[in-house]
């Protein structure tokens, strides 16, 4: 009981004590709490940091190995490329040397071949010489032709002159001008005169026609050779006095063209000529001249001349004309024909029986 009383006596103070303790604890709670948190956080941080440090170390090792590996790989690649480039450069160098030699050789031999060029130029000069020679020959030939033509023309001129002046020929009595009695031999003109035939006047106009024809014809400078108008009667003539007919009429009648009759125009033997013409034509159109005579009496003993087609041994074949089917009686077994069972074809029954037997003697 006493404890109870003591407890009850302490009771009001308990509440206060309780409040006082809680309060004091509360006052320190935050502080303690914060301190605890601080301690815990620091410790956790330590732990985590240790962990991280540990991981870092591990990672560093891994990364170190990995980077080393990558670097070595890269280095290896670089070395390979450098080596490759070095080799290629070397090859290029060598290739350049080869190509240099080859191109020089090829160009010297084929493209800019000095010797070929020289030969070509020599060939050209030789060819030129030939061409020049030929052209000179051609020119000379033309010159000669021209000279010949000129000479011939001069000769012709001279001859023409001689023919025109034929009257200057010297006679027995009178010496002509080209045959002076004081000179030993006559002039060559004299000899020419002796040789030439005198010129007749009617031949002269024909010469000049051709020369001017070519240029004048096209330039229309020569007057054209038109058919001139009909000549008209002279004007102003006095009509003659007296019972004369008109001059124009008279002239017309006088110069009227002849109009002969048929009898006059035809020749004397025109009838016979026409007959002969007809006969000739008939003879032309006939095949042969044997007259057509009637049968039997005239041709009794005449042998028939076959035409060429028939007279050769390659004449007509007998097949199709004399016989139609080949029949070889020697090969027959029996004389009688086959006995027919079925009705035969009517046409074939008549084979060999359509004509009389006299035709088979052939």
């Amino acid at each position: 009981m006493a404890t109870l009383a003591r407890l009850q006596a302490r009771l009001p103070g308990l509440r206060e004590e309780c409040f006082r303790r809680n309060r004091s604890v509360d006052e320190h709670r935050k502080k303690e709490y914060k301190a605890a948190v601080k301690i815990q956080s620091w410790f956790r941080g330590c732990r985590v940091r240790a962990y991280i440090r540990y991981l870092n170390n591990i990672i560093i090792i891994i990364q170190k190995w990995w980077r080393g590996y990558q670097g070595r790989r890269y280095f290896r690649k670089m070395v390979e490329t450098a080596y490759f480039i070095m080799k290629m450069n070397f090859y290029n160098e060598m290739a350049v040397r080869i190509q240099k030699r080859w191109r020089g050789y090829y160009d010297r031999k084929y493209t800019h071949n000095y010797y070929a060029l020289k030969k070509y130029l020599e060939a050209i000069s030789v060819n030129n010489e030939i061409v020049r020679k030929e052209l000179n020959e051609y020119a000379e030939m033309k010159e000669k032709e021209k000279k010949k033509k000129d000479l011939e023309k001069k000769e012709k001129e001279k001859e023409h002159q001689a023919r025109k002046m034929h009257y200057l020929l010297s006679t027995e009595q009178i010496a002509g001008i080209y045959n002076s009695p004081f000179s030993k031999s006559p002039d060559p003109m004299e000899l020419l005169l002796r040789k030439s035939k005198p010129l007749s006047h009617s031949q002269q106009p024909a010469k000049n026609h051709l020369i001017c024809e070519l240029c004048d014809w096209s330039n229309c400078t020569r007057s054209p050779t038109f058919p001139a108008a009909q000549p008209l009667p002279p004007i102003g003539r006095q009509k003659p006095q007296g019972p004369f007919r008109d001059t124009a009429e008279v002239l017309r009648q006088r110069y009227k063209p002849l109009e002969p009759t048929l009898r006059v125009a035809a020749s004397i033997n025109s009838l016979e000529k026409a007959r002969e013409e007809i006969k000739r034509e008939e003879w032309r159109n006939r095949v042969h001249d044997n007259e057509f005579l009637p049968f039997s009496s005239y041709h009794k003993n005449e042998k028939y001349d076959p035409s060429i087609h028939r007279s050769g041994k390659y004449g007509q074949e007998t097949y199709g004309v004399k016989h139609f089917r080949e029949v070889q009686p020697k090969k027959w077994i029996a004389d009688k024909d086959f006995q027919t069972v079925l009705p035969s074809i009517v046409l074939f029954e008549r084979f060999g029986k359509t004509y009389s037997r006299t035709g088979q003697i052939v």
């Binding site: 061409v131 020049r132 007057s223």
Partner: protein, 508 residues
């Protein structure tokens, strides 16, 4: 009675007309009788006579008109203005051959003066009628029609095209094959006039098969025919490579070379023109000509002619040499340079000299060998003098300068360069000194010669701006010689020496 009187009056009138027209035609054939002003009335008088009943009068009237128009272009214009052409054209188709010839003569006489008159003829529809005349049997009519067409087509390409559109070309090709020489000549000349204007027209002529016939006629002995044929072929070949190849395929080489030896000057000229037109297109064609010996023939041709006739030959050599150095060497080997030099010196005309200068430049510009060949012929001083001469035309000066420059840039033949040092103007001098500066460092004999001929002295006297190319060349040359020599030859050295003498205190 009265009927006879009437008849007599008519006959008198007819005779008067005939006399008048024949007299006019006669007088018109002599040019001193024609005076333009007084004769304009003649047109009005002759015009109704063209429609006369009597054929003789018609023909003589046409003849008279033709002769009048032929003489002078004013009269030709009067013919056109007098409306005579349509009548002529209408009656051309119906009449006989003498009238056709005379009418074609009138058309030709009118058409030859100027393009406007030719246009007037085309506008009145004369071309179709002329083409119909080309089909006529009489060769004189064909010739007159072809001549008229040729004169019309000559002026410009539109008129040529009109002639071609009228269908003249196949008929002309047929005319060429006719046996009459005059007709062949005229037909060839007409084809030449048609094809000279443009490549399409030339192609039309080629399509009608003209080349084969023209090529056959080169062998004909008649000189005038050859002129026309060669001219026609060269007008065809000049337009393009294909046409030139077609002409060459007709196997004209080496026959054309015989034409270059013909006695007629113009045949030679036209032959050279033909080879020039073919050679100028490509190196292959030039090669063909060289292989056929064409260069030798042309060179002989140049040597034998004088004057303008030489010009196409000179140009041909220039074209051949311009294509490649092998061809240029071929020209040199065929002894082409001496005739060119003589042309340059002898000829009076500036354009021929210019062509010769150009050709020499083309020959010498390729390699030092070529330049040496040209320089040895002693042609450089001539070129220089032509360049410097104030009387030469501008064209000649320009060409001479270019040729000189081209040759000098490759020339290493020093003896030929020496004389040029003394007279050349600065722009040429630069090249000469440049060449010296290239050669002298390597050749001791040349150096010695250079000094002894006074070249070094001359080089010292040249004033050049420092830093210019000329100065560099001069420095190079000076570096080839020891210093004392250079100073010895420098201008004013004697004064310097004398000054030194003056300033010298004698050592007693």
């Amino acid at each position: 009675m009265s009927q006879r009187q009437v008849l007599q009056v008519f006959e008198q009138y007819q005779r008067a007309r005939t006399q008048f027209v024949q007299a006019v035609a006669e007088l018109a054939s002599r040019s001193q009788n024609i005076e333009p002003r007084s004769n304009s009335g003649v047109m009005a008088l002759l015009r109704p006579l063209l429609l006369d009943v009597v054929p003789t009068i018609q023909q003589t009237a046409a003849l008279a008109l033709g002769r009048l128009a032929n003489y002078n272009d004013e009269l030709a214009e009067a013919v056109v203005k007098g409306d005579i052409l349509p009548q002529l054209v209408c009656s051309l188709s119906e009449q006989n051959r003498f009238y056709k010839k005379a009418a074609a003569f009138v058309l030709r006489a009118v058409g030859k003066h100027s393009p406007q008159l030719a246009q007037a003829i085309v506008q009145c529809g004369a071309l179709e009628t002329l083409v119909i005349c080309l089909e006529d049997f009489d060769p004189g009519v064909k010739e007159a029609a072809a001549w008229a067409l040729g004169y019309i087509a000559r002026h410009n390409s539109e008129l040529s095209q009109a002639v071609v559109d009228a269908g003249a070309v196949p008929l002309l090709v047929l005319c060429i094959q006719e046996p009459e020489i005059a007709l062949k000549r005229i037909a060839a000349s007409t084809l030449s006039d048609i094809s000279k204007h443009s490549p399409e027209l030339a192609q039309t002529v080629v399509d009608a098969g003209a080349i084969a016939h023209l090529a056959q006629m080169i062998l004909n002995p008649d000189a005038k025919l050859k002129r026309q044929v060669l001219s026609a072929l060269s007008q065809i070949a000049k337009h393009s490579v294909d046409l030139a190849e077609l002409v060459v395929e007709a196997e004209i080489f080496p026959v054309v070379l015989t034409c270059l030896k013909d006695s007629d000057e113009y045949v030679k000229k036209n032959g050279a023109t033909l080879t020039r037109e073919i050679a100028k297109h490509t190196p292959e064609l030039s090669q063909l000509i060289v292989n056929a010996g064409g260069v030798a023939a042309v060179i002989d041709c140049i040597g034998s002619c004088r004057g303008t006739v030489r010009l196409p030959g000179i140009m041909m050599l220039g074209y051949v040499a311009a294509h490649s150095e092998n061809l240029s060497m071929a020209v040199i080997v065929s002894k082409g340079i001496p005739p060119l030099c003589t042309c340059l010196i002898e000829e009076n005309e500036d354009h021929i000299k210019a062509a010769a200068a150009w050709a020499l430049g083309q020959v010498g510009r390729h390699t030092p060998e070529h330049a040496r060949a040209v320089a040895v012929a002693n042609v450089l001083p001539t070129l220089l003098s032509m360049y410097m001469d104030a009387h030469s035309s501008e064209d000649l000066q320009v060409k001479a300068k270019k040729a000189l420059k081209n040759i000098l840039q490759k020339c290493t033949y020093l003896p030929a360069l020496e004389p040029l040092l003394h007279d050349a103007p600065p722009n040429i001098l630069k090249h000469i000194v440049g060449q010296f500066s290239k050669v002298l460092p390597h050749d001791s004999k040349a150096r010695r010669l250079f000094v002894t001929t006074g070249g070094l002295k001359k080089v010292q006297e040249i004033k050049a701006e420092p830093g210019s190319l000329l100065q560099e060349y001069i420095n190079t040359i000076n570096n080839c010689y020891p210093e004392e020599i250079v100073r010895y030859y420098s201008p004013g050295y004697s004064e310097i020496l004398l000054e030194r003498v003056e300033n010298y205190h004698p050592v007693l």
